[in-house]
Symmetry: C2
Subunit: 515 residues, 2 copies
């Protein structure tokens, strides 16, 4: 717990306090299941105390980063909680990264300790460690022996270090997908975790009887949200290293799992793997799907089950708007009730409903900034709002429509035009497979809009059709002045390479502020 | 909004930000209805800006108290929000108090401004003002003319002062019922209001389509919780000065109210007043009751509608546990998911489930202390917990059973005995109408337990029966050593007068710490 002598101590709840609470009030409830390990909340609290004490004795201090370089495991959440009890910041790293990418994370995060894994990723981890010249304490979690994870914990009982930071300090950091350049680690507070966990629990009907199968990647906030919701509610988290359809079936059956993160392809694998019905998956409350799937599981009738999804990003601890929060005109639901959302124009001014601008968020789940990116952090919180760098529109009922990423702005005369918005419109044309919009220099207007369009296979697209389509659906000044039809767009990874498009099609003249 | 240059500005949401958000995102939605007045959220925001500017120009500063000495009215919530925009603290006063009691509040709160009412309580207010020698700015809200409320607001548009304190500062204070001595005003933060409002909205299915009839007393947190939930959700608050069955029927019908605070006696009045069905009350989602009532209204199937109530107090912004949060072994439901609850022994140690001790709370809805009671405030937050001065027990499923108020402790040998717990046990005896338990000095054990019992009319009670009954249901050391049967208990107001009981029946020798 936070220093009890602070005048506001009685208003502070850290994620470690949540563990202490379960250990005090429901000590025998099962907190975590992983392989043959089954730990009650009392067990978990004691193991976390031992780990925290060992890390503290090894020189891990307040504010230090602890990295998890491994797959899903109960030890991941133990590490988060031990870090919390030391006032540190826990960072689960994407174990699918290359050695060079992990080395970047090691240099950027500069951790005091790295919990790493031998199985499947041992060689990559070793190579990354070498590349980065890491001087952290490296602790192997999945092998025994001196200095291993279980060796540190095995030292018997240890007192609770009670070095928690205040609840508004960061306890979790997650690297976000980088659209361009380096990835950045969003720092999330105790309060962000507890607040989001409480809301998600309410919308998913997660209580202490909930058994959540952690099969999705826990280095992504989307899957971690439910892990935290289950933990905050005193439910049971079941861990499995990665998605394996047969093993998921076995675990759902054996542990009577009520929740799991299952995507479409996994559903198909489960349908085929369990076609003979040898596993009972009826305990699983999940979305309806193909008839075979729906027959195997229980269709989730919670608000989330009926209306999943919303708008969010790692920087706001997952979702900021939820379709589960009631009917909405907007495509992405309504804001979390403790959050404020505004749509901002290019100068930070608040826009009226119906106008497209940058989605801005304020409230308890907003990040504390990016680790090691002081300037970017200040830029993203200008004017007292978290700037998402995404475009959206508030509908007349106060719900949100997400339009697309705000990459850059085209300026035509006095008008600001967001390429994403024009692209979203063109994408609704029935003959269009892909599209990118750029600005080209214009002597009279500064810039004008050019669309580069990829038609669907076998379809033909006339430039004038695209222009007419835009004229019909969005403000006239946003419509392209010229349209190029091409066979594919240049990309770096998933992202369209706009710099390459500019070179190829004469783009340029963008206003200085956001290039 | 809080100073946008604070590094944590993007994480701060004040109650005034909520108003700004509705005014920005759903400006035309109806925020308040009162008599012939109908205000959209845009209107409300503008009126609040005018009021705040006028109060600011009259010398109301950050941290100042603004008192509302009137009945229910849209101006009450406008005052709360104007106070929020000035960084002050709003206090709605019980308008049923005597002039002397109001004078006490005036001296204790030392307000910069008092918004008062002529109708029904004008004479009492004037007398109280005189008694207290109040030098505050007194503003009459229900009459027109120079210096009146509407006169201040009528000055046209005014800029938003944007002097909000941070969200953890107090914005509301409410005097709690005093069991003994003077009443104390619990100071509640922006965050307490927004957090509780968001939770209550979820449990009561309050959204922007909710129309809440404010007929219950708004100087009580129990009714104010729903007002705030409706406001946070962007719904419509309808105000009526006080409970009047015919007027409630008219308003529910005319405004299609979906919620109202209706107690049993009012239900009976409504049944008789609307026996001819001339008002349609079908829009009202409320608890089932007598068949005539249930036929008139729509039975509320929200979690709250199905399982209302829980444990709480003004000091934690209403309820801290809710029966609506899922099945529970305990009598008073489960803790709010963002709160921590512990049961503490007399030395502040955390007790295991099943043991009775003081209910302690930690989290976002806990008060910032009592106004003008520095010592008592420190006492109530010892060890980083809010001490409720109520007794309870955590059940094995993590739910709470409320036992009774912790008044004082009887010490018998090394054992601590809570009179409320013994009283709660004796009250379950079928022949008992009322009971009080005191401690009497004992040479060997320090104290022993004595019960003073009032039998039900016509029933006879043997002392030994009571002792046996306790022996059967609670720990043996807690059972009374002696039982006195009497016809009534001495009281001051609602509260049993334990000092008088001690004098009458030889009580004394209580341990020093909590007398």
């Amino acid at each position: 717990m936070t220093d009890p002598h602070r005048p506001d101590a009685a208003q502070q709840v850290t994620i470690a306090d949540v563990l202490r609470g379960h250990s005090r009030n429901t000590p025998d409830a099962l907190g975590a299941i992983c392989g043959s390990h089954r730990y009650s909340y009392r067990d978990l609290d004691q193991r976390v105390n031992c780990l925290a004490s060992a890390l503290g004795a090894s020189g891990v201090h307040r504010g230090d980063r602890i990295l998890w370089l491994g797959q899903n495991c109960h030890r991941l959440i133990e590490c988060l909680l031990a870090t919390a009890k030391l006032g540190g910041i826990f960072c689960p790293v994407n174990w699918r990264l290359s050695a060079a990418e992990i080395a970047f994370v090691l240099r950027d995060a500069d951790p005091a300790a790295v919990l790493w894994q031998s199985a499947e990723i041992g060689d990559t981890a070793r190579e990354a460690r070498e590349l980065a010249g890491s001087d952290a304490l490296w602790i192997l979690h999945d092998e025994s022996g001196a200095g291993s994870y279980e060796d540190l914990i095995g030292g018997g009982e240890a007192p609770d270090p009670r070095l928690d930071a205040s609840e508004d300090q960061a306890v979790l950091m997650m690297y976000t997908a980088a659209f361009s350049g380096e990835p950045n680690a969003a720092m999330l507070s105790h309060r962000a975790l507890v607040t989001q966990g409480a809301l998600v629990a309410g919308l998913q009907h997660i209580g202490r009887d909930y058994v959540y199968l952690n099969c999705g990647p826990l280095f992504h906030v989307a899957t971690f949200m439910t892990t935290i919701a289950t933990f905050v509610s005193g439910g049971t988290n079941v861990f499995t290293p990665r998605v394996d359809a047969e093993e998921l079936c076995r675990l759902i059956d054996a542990e009577h799992c009520t929740g799991a993160f299952v995507m479409g392809p996994t559903m198909d694998q489960i349908i085929s793997c369990n076609s003979d019905g040898r596993y009972s998956l009826k305990s699983l409350r999940t979305f309806a799907g193909k008839p075979e799937w729906t027959a195997m599981v229980t269709v989730d009738d919670s608000p989330w089950g009926r209306h999943p999804g919303g708008y969010g990003q790692t920087e706001v601890m997952g979702l900021a708007t939820f379709k589960a929060l009631g009917p909405s005109l907007g495509s992405h639901g309504r804001p979390a009730p403790f959050l404020q959302i505004a749509i901002l124009g290019p100068d930070g001014e608040e826009l009226a409903p119906g106008l497209t601008g940058e989605i801005a968020v304020r409230g308890a789940t907003v990040m504390n900034g990016y680790h090691n990116r002081p300037e970017l952090s200040v830029e993203r919180r200008q004017g007292g709002w978290h700037h998402t760098r995404d475009l959206g529109r508030m509908e007349s009922d106060g719900s949100l429509t997400f339009v697309g990423p705000l990459t850059r702005i085209i300026k035509s005369a006095a008008e600001n035009i967001y390429p994403s918005e024009v692209e979203a419109c063109i994408r609704t044309h029935p003959a269009v497979a892909d599209v990118a919009v750029i600005g080209v220099p214009d002597r009279t207007w500064g810039q004008n809009v050019k669309a580069i369009v990829v038609p669907l296979e076998g379809a033909a697209v006339e430039p004038q059709e695209i222009i007419d389509h835009c004229q019909e659906h969005i403000a006239s000044y946003k419509k392209p002045k010229s349209v190029v039809v091409t066979s594919s767009l240049p990309r770096t990874g998933f992202a369209v390479d706009y710099d390459a498009l500019d070179s190829l099609f004469g783009g340029g003249g963008y206003p200085g502020a956001r290039s």
